[in-house]
Amino acid sequence: MENISFEDVFEGKLAKNEMIEPKDWMPENYRKHLIRQISQHAHSEIIGMLPEGNWITRAPSLRAKVVLLAKVQDEGGHGLYLYTAAETLGVSRDELLNNLHTGKAKYSSIFNYPTLTWADIGAVGWLVDGAAIMNQVMLQRSSYGPYSRAMVRICKEESFHQRQGYEIMTHLAFGTKDQKEMAQDALNRWWYPTMMMFGPPDSESPNSENAMKWRIKRETNDQLRQRFVDQTVKQVEYLGLIVPDENLKWNEAKNGYDFTEPNWVEFKNIISGNGPCNKERLAARNKAHDDGKWVREAAQAFAKKRSEIYAAA
């Protein structure tokens, strides 16, 4: 009988577009890559609750308040599925959270920008969730089963979020002069940071090669960014707003827009902790976790007492 190695089985599954499941053998680097990617994604959802949560108490209508609350809650729910998906790879949530709280783990840099006006809540839903969906639609076909399945559910909710964001922008863009200015200002500030969400250019993306090889990712950063620009320009035009890029121009030959790259120096700085809100975001997470310590301890102490009473009975 022919000797088939674990690697062969793994590679065979990838080749046949089959899912890798938690109990399957997988190369250590594949496992590490996934833990890093899934936990970063989970952290992004949790940190993302902060800039949007910032406007819950100031939402300008009761409907907007309820919708925003539900949206921020959904993001927390996404964080929960993703932490659970990461746990199937043999890492604990405590460990992952500890990496977040100590600044060791990364999360999406976009959430280190401030939400300054109500229009930013529209822009975050429309642009940031729009960009996230583009990434995540691809990840629904990712090779790791639990991640792929979490993405299917997350994508459904994210597309609601994007519509919610666009709805806010529509009210503003077709509203009073002040509202329209607020919408344009938000677009000006969120356009380039959103483009950064797809990651550095392919020529400088350190993790892309393996991710493509392992079918964790299926399209490159630059391909996704191009698609995002092509899709979003039409939406900007519908709103009667202006893309803050003088070099934006349709290119018939490539059947897509030419556009100005985001400022990658700014991107690197924000990733390394120098963004406008990096410290605040991390401080808010740490405060919530530290303030919650006695709550978690009380729950554990109570559960222990009850199980002792139960055992004695």
């Binding site: 949790i46 609750m49 902060l50 949560g53 819950i56 108490t57 100031r58 300008p60 209508s61 009761l62 409907r63 907007a64 308040k65 309820v66 609350l69 539900a70 921020v72 809650q73 927390g76 729910g77 964080g79 929960l80 932490y83 109500w118 806010i168 009210h171 509203g175 009073t176 002040d178 509202q179 808010a284 405060k287 919530a288 976790h289 303030d291 919650g292 006695w294 709550v295 978690r296 301890e297 009380a298 729950a299 102490a301 109570f302 007492k305």
Partner: protein
């Protein structure tokens, strides 16, 4: 006072209590003690804010002066708000938030049971929906009261302190005035004395089960039925109402 005026006042009281409580609770979203609890409390917040929206929509309809639920929420001044004072107090730590929530959930549980039988079909309908939700809220917050009471020494002390400080605001929930008198006769409003008896029994059993004690001889605060509040409400409104007041012509 006509029945219509009384009914408007009555619905505002219920709507405002939900609105301000939801507003306070929403401050926790994204900052809860752990992820699952953050999601659970946000669920409660959503239900309560949703109930506020339903009640205020109905209040606007009863008033019949062309105001919307948003006009009522965002364009009234603090002296025109009738929420119970307990809802506007700062959240404090999680023990205080839970203690307040248990006290109010338990009130709502018995209040909505009675209001479900109101002759006013709209009020009865909202109450029936809210009762289903509040039944879950009360289960959730009661479980936490018990965990805190019989958890660690620290949690026990924190939640006992919370009960001690909140207790002075509980009697307001049961106060009745000419509005109640008129509407009880019509079979619309709830006799709050009835709710109070059930609430006292329920809370005293729950507090005892949680190894806590009910504060005795507490002087009770009052005022909200007349639109008199603590210092906190005006700050809440300044934040909540800012956008609609800065941009009065805008639609959102």
């Amino acid at each position: 006072m006509t029945t219509q005026e009384a009914l408007f006042q009555y619905i505002l009281r219920i709507g405002d209590t939900n609105l301000i409580l939801g507003q306070r609770l929403s401050e926790w979203t994204g900052h809860g003690p752990f992820l699952e609890e953050d999601l659970a409390l946000t669920n409660i917040t959503l239900d309560i804010t949703g109930a506020a929206k339903s009640f205020l929509e109905y209040a606007a309809k009863v008033e019949d002066k062309g105001r919307s639920e948003d006009d009522l929420a965002f364009l009234r001044n603090d002296r025109q708000f009738f929420n119970a004072q307990i809802t506007e107090l700062p959240n404090g730590d999680y023990a205080r938030t839970i203690a307040r929530q248990v006290l109010v959930d338990c009130f709502d549980y018995y209040f909505y049971q009675e209001l479900s039988k109101s002759n006013d079909e709209t009020l009865a309908g909202i109450a029936q929906k809210s009762l289903k939700e509040v039944t879950y809220h009360l289960r959730h917050t009661s479980a936490w009261l018990e965990r805190f009471g019989d958890g660690t020494e620290e949690s026990h002390n924190k939640v006992q302190l919370a009960l001690n400080e909140l207790w002075q605001y509980t009697n307001e929930l049961f106060e009745m005035n000419e509005v109640d008198e008129l509407l009880i006769k019509e079979g619309i409003a709830v006799d709050l004395n009835l709710v109070k008896t059930k609430w006292e029994k329920h809370i005293s059993e729950l507090v005892e089960k949680s190894t806590l004690t009910i504060p005795q001889n507490v002087f009770m605060q009052t005022g909200s039925r007349k639109g008199i509040h603590t210092e906190h409400l005006a700050f809440i409104l300044a934040e909540m109402q800012a956008l609609p007041r800065i941009y009065p012509d805008a639609k959102w």
